[in-house]
Symmetry: C2
Subunit: 178 residues, 2 copies
């Protein structure tokens, strides 16, 4: 099995991953007891997580870092500021492409990218995302942080699957065309 | 039956309705003999079309205006520049909200909005779009004209249906939550 870098992320229909002020409250629209939208199954095939520093700090404040670092997975927080590792979490301030190429060359389960937008767009510019699992929340939030910034290369995708849920969430699954 | 204003439009996965220079070539990725993605069925329930002047002129140059004006439907081209009507096509330079409210109050089939982005965002700012049929093309185009501009009010939607096609096109159908 090839080790893949998979983006698993939620966005509003109008393409925002957060409202202004890092407000993620619209995710609550689709919260439902017993429904994880495939998250546990997805993460069972993952042993490494890459995410941006802002996303990490948001989770640190609001959820707790064990959301990422459960003692088993390797977590890489991409940051411009060096910081000592904690548990299985490393703060990485080197070249992102170098890191991803190194990880993909190693054996292991898949690599999960949880955003944020800066990391996603840097990965896209370098054609490093192999699969996209994008959950579309049934809301137009109107403003905020866009998942896709402008000025990336064109990239054709292949639709693997699309699922809809009774909360109105639609989950796309694409892979990169080679 | 209430007369509804329905947006029926195609976008790339990264949210662009055209690449820079009004380039719509990515729509060709999903062209398939005998597959119209529900367009004929949709337009059979429509007797009025609203679209922006730039979109109209693009179709005028590349497809021909009978794409909109088939002699039966009423076509409103929203423009800042007055221009005499031709066939069943009127060039409207008045207030868009006034026009849409007038049309919705009249009896008739549904009203189809074909874009472009300026019209869509003006309609959204005034909460005038009742249903959204959005076809997502399996491509990241990287840059161009975004379907959703920033600075709109938040609006919750209700998912009516989602269809996927073997070309990889996914078609969402939402209605406005009241």
């Amino acid at each position: 099995m090839n080790r893949k870098l998979i983006l698993y992320i939620a966005t509003s229909l109008d393409g925002y991953i957060a409202k202004p002020g890092d407000d993620l409250s619209f995710l609550k629209l689709v919260e439902k007891q017993g429904e994880d939208y495939g998250y546990e199954e997805f993460t069972s095939n993952v042993d490494t997580i890459i995410l941006g520093r802002k996303t990490y700090e948001w989770v640190e404040r609001h959820i707790g870092t064990t959301h990422y670092d459960n003692g088993q997975r390797q977590v890489y927080v991409i940051t411009r500021t060096e910081r000592p590792a904690t548990g299985k979490t490393q703060f990485y301030s080197g070249n992102l492409t170098t890191l991803v190429q190194k990880l993909k060359a190693e054996k292991g389960k898949h690599i999960y990218c949880d955003g944020g937008a800066e990391i996603v767009n840097e990965l896209l510019k370098n054609d490093l995302i192999d699969e996209f699992i994008i959950s579309v929340i049934p809301v137009l939030v109107g403003d905020g942080t866009r998942l896709f910034k402008s000025g990336r290369p064109e990239q054709q995708l292949h639709l693997i699957d699309v699922k809809s849920f009774d909360t109105g969430l639609v989950q796309f699954h694409y892979k990169r065309q080679r």
